[in-house]
Amino acid sequence: MTVRKDRAVTARVAALVLLGALAAGCMRDAPLDWPARDPGSQRGGVLRLAAPDDVPTLDPALSYDSRSWTYQLHLFETLVTYDDASRIVPLLAERWTVSDDLRHYRFELQPGVVFSDGSPVTAADAAGSIERVIDPKTRSQGAEYYRGIRGAAAYADGSAPHVAGLQALDATTLVIELDEPDPLFLDKMALLFASVLPIEYARRLGDDFTDQPIGSGPFVLREWRRGERLVLARNPRYRRTDRPFLDGIVEYAGVNSELAWLKFLSDEIDLSGIPTADFPSVIRNPDATGTLVRGPTLVTNYIGLNCQMPPLDDRRVRQALNYAVDKDDIVELLNHRAVPAKGIVPPDMPGYTAEVAGYPHDPAKARALLQEAGQGAGFTTELWTQSSDLDLKLGQKIQHDLADVGVTMAIKQVAWSVFLEAIRQPKTTPLFDLAWSADFADPSNFLDVLLHSSRFDANNHSFYANPRFDGLVERARTMRASAERTRLFVDAERIVVDDAPMLFLYHPISYVMTQKRVHGYAIHPLLPSRYMDVWLDPEPGQGASAGS
């Protein structure tokens, strides 16, 4: 998924508007009542969170962003999910079988599971939920993942009443047949798009489902006041009795990262990112502030280079830019909350080791390459970027590094929507600042999705085309996970690094600070924030309270 960053200008204007609203006398939070905790029990308590924006949607078919996914992960369940090592494990499906030709998938659902309204979770719900994502009327960005199911196209164009390849054999058996072998189909079933909804109910509510979502997850939606707060409460009908520990989760919206940190310091929220400015002093003694949680991501931040726009159509020029930028400096600017990138696939990708050398900082080599390409006198170009403080900071750093080898780069800051539109247009954005976050743990999610020449309209914003690379990636598409498949990706990545359709910058590392009483919070490289295993320090036992 394309990663969007904090939008500074909007945030500042919003802050001004907010001040106005405060001055006008805004509504106080209505108090929420929660059950009292049993003294000494791990169970109970409420986790308090804050975020700059509201959650876009709670309808799993309609979201493609980590904010929405965080909450959907707690309201809904998919048939399969990832464990901590990013391996596929059962969730609603008890077990499954995959045919040798990778075209037939059979899922056996756990019997006796109910949605939060008490109705049973059936294979028909699972089939219907995927059909709903494929249905063009739903306008789901996830539809592309399920087009490979037999009959999906006929259903989408209205010539068939149902997707033929999606069959609920009985209440707990779902059979899926694909047109082509797909080694990644289980991963696609772990995406939140494939959440199992009570399908009759969901179809009846249509666009209103986001406001009154019903699922089988550990939590239910208790209250959602847009722009103010989102409140989840424990699902009393959740099938596991040992989870969740928390009675509820409250997230306050409209709190930027700076403010969230101040609220964290004054113990108004339980979890916060650490602002860049504060990070150096916090990291020297994290225990003084709370519990530091750290985790790698499957994210690559890069500067895309448009391979169709001269002089960037010359590979030597693109290589020169890669040599010119000092990635170690950039990592330092990020408080070392990142590792320098050598290629496009993140180093933490399970089962894959990139064997690429990357581009060390070497301005002399950069100048020599520019000379060779006939650009010895330098040239003028433009970096398109979102208007966040971080993007501007990195932009200025890159601007300085490129000036060092004679390349004059202007920085063009635009709004996110404008940016997304511009990078899709051919020959519009020579350099653009972007990040890609893996949707599933497979190298193809970077190499194929971002760089195959058939994806100019989708995510190949570099307009990169190399038939040799395409061939390798295409061969891997229908292959089962194997050493040979991994080999194909390593070879493909070598070609990409050599062709340099982007400046490979860094892979971020996530840092979150939690209050000391919060336990069980961990960062997952693929899944959004998970609060299912989080628990709070128990209330003092009776002995302690008797003394007071």
């Binding site: 504060d278 403080d389 601007q399």
Partner: protein, 271 residues
């Protein structure tokens, strides 16, 4: 003119002269390249002290050097944008006041419409449409701040055009152009000087505001407004990053406001 006002005028002029001097020779005095990371570390601003007398920012750049280079940009934006403002405002004000009638109605209603727009929002919209550069900023600031000038000049012109010396000139067969340039304009001039001084401080502030919103003169050019903006996430851990450019803006605005204040009597005293 009272002695106090004269004193303030002198003080303002001295401050202004200091600013001009800084803008001319400042960049040569800057100890470091204002765009280069010179601090030993990035991401952790150094506090003021040798060899970085005003500290360094998160990109490892020397604050003093950036401030000195920024002086030239800020003053240049202030003065050029002021000139644009004055030229547009004076031309429209003179035309409206002198010709009156339909011309006056059209020009003044247009001025009212422009006045109804919040200046900063209009500037933001214009910058978004035009390609960001120093020149864009000159033009944009000029385009959003001429209205006040036009109103004052029109008022002055309305009374001047009925004066005897104007009537005399007209009786002697002088054309509109000659009357406007030789007879009306020189008499509006004292007022213009006061407005110009005030407008300079206004444009310096507007430029800082635009830079603060991230749409001012684009990087790598150091500007005071952008320095304040970039420091805004660091105000708790490195307050000097915001304080020094903030004080610089305060100094420049104060200088031109004092000049304007001191000149007010001078303008009134002229017959």
């Amino acid at each position: 003119m009272t002695a106090r006002r004269r004193g303030l005028l002198r003080f303002g002029l001295a401050m202004g002269a200091g600013l001009v001097l800084l803008a001319v020779v400042g960049p040569a005095l800057a100890p470091f390249d204002p765009t280069a990371p010179v601090a030993p570390q990035l991401a952790e601003p150094s506090p003021p002290g040798a060899p970085f007398w005003l500290g360094t920012d998160d990109l490892g750049r020397d604050v003093l050097s950036r401030l000195l280079h920024g002086a030239r940009i800020s003053l240049m934006v202030g003065l050029v944008a002021m000139l644009v403002t004055m030229v547009i405002g004076t031309a429209l004000g003179l035309a409206a006041g002198y010709f009156g009638g339909v011309v006056d109605v059209i020009l003044m209603r247009f001025t009212d419409v422009m006045l109804a727009f919040p200046g900063l929002l209009l500037a933001v919209a214009l910058v978004a449409v035009l390609r960001p550069s120093v020149w864009t900023i000159f033009v944009v600031i000029g385009l959003v701040s001429w209205t006040g000038v036009a109103r004052v000049v029109r008022g002055e012109t309305l009374s001047l055009r009925e004066r005897d010396f104007v009537l005399a000139a007209r009786a002697m067969g002088a054309g509109h152009g000659r009357i406007l340039l030789r007879h009306v304009l020189p008499n509006v001039a004292p007022t213009l000087v006061v407005i110009a001084a005030l407008s300079t401080s206004g444009t310096i502030l507007l430029d800082a505001g635009l830079s603060f919103l991230g749409i001012g003169v684009p990087p790598p050019t150091p500007t005071w407004g952008r320095m304040i903006q970039e420091a805004s996430t660091y105000y708790r851990v490195a307050p000097w990053l915001m304080a020094f450019p903030g004080l610089a803006v305060l100094y420049a605005v104060l200088a031109f406001n004092l000049i304007a204040y001191g000149l007010t009597d001078e303008a009134k005293g002229t017959p």
